[in-house]
């Protein structure tokens, strides 16, 4: 109940600011050079007849998307910027999943982009609000406008945690928790940090239980 336009504004800055910094150097256009034999469209791309764009198109989408993320973070032209970030984000973040494997770390992010695009997240802590204040055009809004996006994101993230925890219990059962399964998963990955975690998890066999408790 304490959520307000200020909380939503700060959340907007943090989310879009982080995404802008994280994806700033990511080269989406590199997918244009991948052979067509790798292309296995996911349901969203298949149903909407989205195909792999040319390098020029991907560069253009990428530049527009990153600019939209920056505009969202500072809160300038927030509504069109958040809609652009959500639409292009759905395409660009979904693109790599058409190449052999669906990773899940961007799925909730895309849904949160759409939640914020439909919300009034630019009403506080934004350039738009300063402009409106300077023009004395700030109208008081119903507090529900700022509450529902926060609730929606909370529900979405809770569903992510619930689903992840249930999937582990359903597919692996208690053995998933008590064995070195998670450590083995991480050992096969090409990431030094995860390999370090793998050694640590071998010592502490109940790392899996900790991840399930976190999910719960």
């Amino acid at each position: 109940m304490r959520a307000s336009s200020f909380d939503l504004g700060i959340s907007r800055i943090l989310l879009y600011g982080f995404c802008f910094l994280y994806y700033f150097s990511y080269d989406f256009a590199a997918w244009a050079h991948v052979p067509a034999e790798f292309w296995r469209p996911i349901a969203l791309f298949h149903q909407l007849h989205w195909s792999l764009g040319s390098e020029t198109l991907l560069v253009a989408f990428s530049v527009i998307w990153k600019a939209a993320l920056a505009l969202c973070a500072v809160g300038l032209a927030t509504r069109p910027a958040t809609l652009t970030a959500a639409a292009l984000g759905t395409y660009l973040l979904g693109l790599e999943h058409n190449f052999g494997k669906v990773h899940h770390f961007t799925a909730a992010l895309v849904i949160v982009f759409w939640i914020l695009a439909l919300s009034r997240c630019g009403d506080r802590c934004s350039v738009d609000s300063w402009i409106r204040t300077a023009r004395s055009r700030n109208r008081p809004r119903n507090v529900l406008n700022y509450l529902w996006p926060v609730w929606a994101v909370r529900v979405q993230l809770s569903l992510v945690m619930l689903a992840a925890g249930l999937a582990k219990l359903r597919h692996g059962g208690m053995e998933w928790i008590t064995s070195d399964n998670l450590a083995e998963c991480w050992r096969h990955m090409d990431d030094t940090r995860l390999r370090t975690c793998h050694r640590w998890l071998r010592i502490w066999r109940f790392g899996s239980l900790a991840s399930l408790l976190f999910a719960a």
């Binding site: 979904g94 494997k101 529900v155 979405q156 992840a164 359903r170 090409d190």
Partner: protein, 137 residues
């Protein structure tokens, strides 16, 4: 619950403003409700092909040694962990898909072309260590 109703009635004190608020919120509520319902359906049915809606089954299966990709440098095998823009797991998964022989040859040729010139050949080894596919420069 009483606290909730009191909170809502404070936000929209009269019937008219409540109707306006509901009319405004209805489209957004329908979209979000659909997303959440499909998510719950995917969780219950254990389905994972509606990205960005998902049942998040990552790491839930029993781990097994994956197929590995190797390059041959000076007669010795070197593990190839990623080929831009693919990360390791996506590359291995993509190479493990069912493909026609011509397609497999094309993708392996592409991977080899993106290796340093000292890599003379690449091949895939399965769980048992047997070479399943390969290509020489």
């Amino acid at each position: 619950m009483a606290e909730w109703f009191s909170f809502v009635s404070r936000l929209a004190p009269d019937r008219q403003s409540r109707i306006i608020a509901i009319r405004k919120a209805a489209p957004v509520a329908l979209v979000l409700g659909a997303v959440f319902l499909i998510t719950i359906r995917d969780i219950v049915l254990d389905q994972d092909h509606h990205w960005p809606i998902s049942s998040y089954p990552m790491y839930s299966g029993k781990s097994k040694p994956p197929t590995l990709l190797f390059g041959v440098v000076g007669g010795q095998e070197v593990r190839i962990t990623s080929v831009s823009p693919f990360d390791h797991s996506r590359l291995i998964s993509a190479l493990s898909h069912n493909m026609r022989p011509g397609e497999r040859h094309a993708v392996l040729k592409w991977v080899l072309a993106r290796q340093p010139s000292k890599v003379r050949a690449i091949h895939l080894r399965n769980i048992d260590g047997a070479v399943t596919h390969g290509i020489v420069r």
